[in-house]
Symmetry: C2
């Protein structure tokens, strides 16, 4: 491996000079600059990021902690993070926490010891100790989590309350009165409450009373959706629409409805949340709330970069626009 020393020697200058040309840190006479550049090209010299980080105390690594890599949501999010990160020359150190708080904490400390330039923390549900661990490191961080707004931190999300309210209203306006709501309990947090609150408000405004037997909660998998929908069927209190906490759950719900001999959306309508790739692929295609997942990733890392460069950031909590996507899974009036 060719080092700065080799380049210096071959160019007949000191390593300081070489350092200056590669970093543009101080003026160097044009003649020497060209000579050094030439040698660099010839030798194929690449600065050692490790040595560099060791002295500057900064790496070009952004640590990203996610609860589940194979979750459709994370893939798109990571895409956004990666793509924008590349623009600013940052690489991604990926950590899969399996949504376990202890793992999350372990990774936070690991990332700190690796002196990452920033952390993007994606979590189903954050705890105080996580925030404290990150913030104490004095390292730029952005949070993507259902309950991020409980803390005084930088976060990226959408307005879940409003989105949920709109979707519920949409269902009602299209003639649905008996609307089941399925939330994911791993997210028995503010944000789920937000979505639930939006649902509740829409019902209230339309004088529809909440039915306990139509409110279910499980985790955020399709299996869970299938299971919970079955419970609803067993109760014989059949809804004419189901609003699921996320698209995977929604698909599980639809499959269950189909398995029970009903049709979607003719007999029962189903709405999802997130608009992951699956939502448009699945048939019937899912009416859902489109979260700008890719953008959320992109914005997160952009914020980190700004923090690193000490640029001005507006609000600590960024709310991105969402959109109600009408597809086939909800029948229209």
């Amino acid at each position: 491996m060719v080092t700065i020393k080799d380049v210096a020697k071959k160019a007949g200058v000191s390593i300081s000079t070489v350092s200056r040309v590669i970093n543009n840190s101080k003026p160097v006479s044009n003649e020497i600059r060209q000579r050094v550049l030439k040698v660099i090209k010839e030798t194929g010299y690449v600065p050692n990021p490790l040595a560099r980080s060791l002295v500057t105390k900064k790496s070009q690594l952004i640590g990203v902690i996610v609860p589940d890599i194979s979750d459709f949501f994370m893939g798109e999010l990571l895409n956004g993070i990666e793509e924008v990160g590349k623009i600013y020359d940052y690489d991604i150190l990926l950590c899969n926490s399996y949504g376990e708080p202890d793992e999350e904490l372990k990774y936070i400390n690991l990332l700190k010891s690796k002196q990452v330039a920033g952390i993007i923390f994606v979590s189903w549900k954050m705890e105080k100790r996580h925030v404290e661990a990150i913030e104490s490191g004095n390292i730029p961080a952005v949070y993507i989590s259902k309950n991020a707004k409980d803390f005084d931190i930088y976060s990226v999300s959408i307005d879940n309350f409003k989105a949920s309210y709109e979707m519920t209203k949409y269902l009602i306006e299209n003639g649905h009165k008996k609307i089941a709501f399925i939330k994911s309990s791993v997210q028995d947090s503010i944000m789920d409450s937000d979505r639930f609150k939006g649902y509740k408000k829409a019902l209230e405004e339309n004088n529809i009373k909440l039915e306990e037997t139509l409110i279910k909660e499980g985790d955020s998998t399709s299996e869970s959706g299938h299971y919970l929908m079955n419970e609803i069927f067993e109760f014989k209190n059949i809804p004419d629409a189901v609003f699921a906490a996320n698209d995977e759950v929604a698909v599980g719900v639809i499959n269950c409805i189909l398995d029970n001999g009903y049709k979607v959306p003719e007999d029962i309508s189903v709405a999802g949340f997130n608009d992951i790739k699956l939502a448009s692929l699945y048939r019937p295609s899912l009416t859902t709330i489109k979260q700008p997942i890719y953008d959320m990733g992109a914005v997160s890392i952009r914020m980190i970069v700004k923090m690193i460069n000490e640029e001005e950031i507006g609000d600590k909590n960024i709310y991105l626009p969402y959109k109600l996507i009408e597809r086939q899974s909800v029948s229209k009036k």
Copy 2:
């Protein structure tokens, strides 16, 4: 940040001694060991991985280059890599190449300069220059690619020829004679040939002649599947079954068939390849070849670790077992 020096001073020993206890590299008297350990605990000292890598020339980082993070396949693969990596204390440096050869090459060099302990290179289609770039670095590497076996390298895959042969045979045995085949051209490589060859052999054995108008190729997205299936429809030479290069394509194919007013599998059967999560979620659920994606990731990183530790590895090319999964998208006799 507390360093090895601080620990040494506080414990009243030299830094070498501290280094020895944390690395177990040389004998240290029990008394001193305990004292050092105690100080480490008290101070919460964590060795700086950067400084460590700088001197040992080895990091605890495994670089993973994938062509598309949001691809369902990659998510599951990364899961396997991450989980096993964690066991051996390796972290994942994630690179998204977008399947572009130049990007791939750039990342390979980046990873080398970061002195990663190993590289897992996932690619739609590898070129000689990629292999050369990696192998010249003398760094452990495992390849997951359609055409990995063209090179003398470590790779993990399944026997695509046999799998494809079996699926085609299965279709034929269930009464299908006009079987379309859709490959993904980004993979116009050996492996696709392998799958294509398997398809061809099965047809030959059953005296079915190959029909050019039923062979299509595009990329590996559902959009591509939809588009190609449309082309087949336009040709008015309707098949009674379609064998798609992968599940996403298969879903696109089915959606197209549905859009054209046909039923799956009653009118046309569709088989996929890979068995990603989507395959069982989608309705009709996909009959497909189950690749052990998670295991492929797990095995890959396990191989890397073995290479790092200079343990014995058996074959250079690992073939994992696959399985034909019967679901709803193919009608049975």
